[in-house]
């Protein structure tokens, strides 16, 4: 009888340890691992989108500068 109780206890302890081992998941290192997510094709798309933004920004800047010089120059003549 004693042996049976000891065996049940040992099994219970093993089960508890096994449960905690299954639950444990190591945390990923975000910075290094996420950088691998951007493969070459995605990088190309990103680069193209950034170039569009750059062109759009330059056009916007030109529009702003024209508007500023035109409105300021109004005050230099009658």
């Amino acid at each position: 009888m004693k042996k049976l109780i000891i065996a049940v206890c040992v099994i219970a302890v093993i089960a508890v340890i096994a449960y905690f081992l299954v639950q444990y998941k190591p945390q990923p290192k975000p910075v290094e691992e996420e950088s691998y997510v951007l493969d070459d094709s995605l990088n190309t798309v990103l680069q193209q989108e950034l170039e569009k933004v750059s062109v759009d920004q330059t056009a916007f800047n030109a529009e702003v500068e024209n508007e500023i010089v035109n409105s300021l120059s109004l005050f230099y003549y009658e």
């Binding site: 920004q57 702003v64 500068e65 500023i68 300021l72 109004l74 230099y76 003549y77 009658e78």
Partner: protein, 226 residues
Amino acid sequence: MDNFNSTNRQIDKSENMKPIVLIPIVLVILASIAAVSSARLERITETERLDFANMIRNYLNPVIHGAGIGFDCTGDSYIVAKFHAVSVKVLPFDQITSIIREEKQKSQVVDWSQVRERIRAAIEANGTIISKGRISINGTMYALTNIVKTDTNFSADIKEMPNYTNCKQQNISAEQCEQQSATVGSISLTKGEATGLPGTPYLWKGTLEFKKTYKFAAFAYPRAVA
């Protein structure tokens, strides 16, 4: 009866004389107007307007420009904005008006190119550098005023676009015109990390106040625009 007819004839004669007397008077007035106007500046042409704009453009330098997105605290709504600020060397408004007034009073005929050259010399000698900027929020343009830009910080007030033409007609300077315009928000950014992207923009983060508070992040460039 004869006396009556004679009186009537005299009245008719004096009435016929009136236009003849008026002709020399009108001629004298026209001659005076012509003499005065010949000493005045001629009406400015479109090309001359552009020459004035190009003169200002020579004194303009980019300060910061960028584009970004902001989210409100709940993350339920976002805002998209592009901004561009420049520094420009200008002449105080009273000096500009004084130069134009002096040129008008000259006896000989003067043109706008002479005025422009005098203003250019005055800008070189006494011009002050000020900052001007614009921000486009969700596609609508606003003016940036009270711009403060350091190596690590950028802040400005956001105002409705001023009506410069109206201000000019009311003899109000461009700066007063902007100050009178309604404030609709503000922007405050701090320079963050380098992005490693072409043109070496940096990530600038901060707050955009526009009807509500947005956490705002932008790629911004300190470079000159080609």
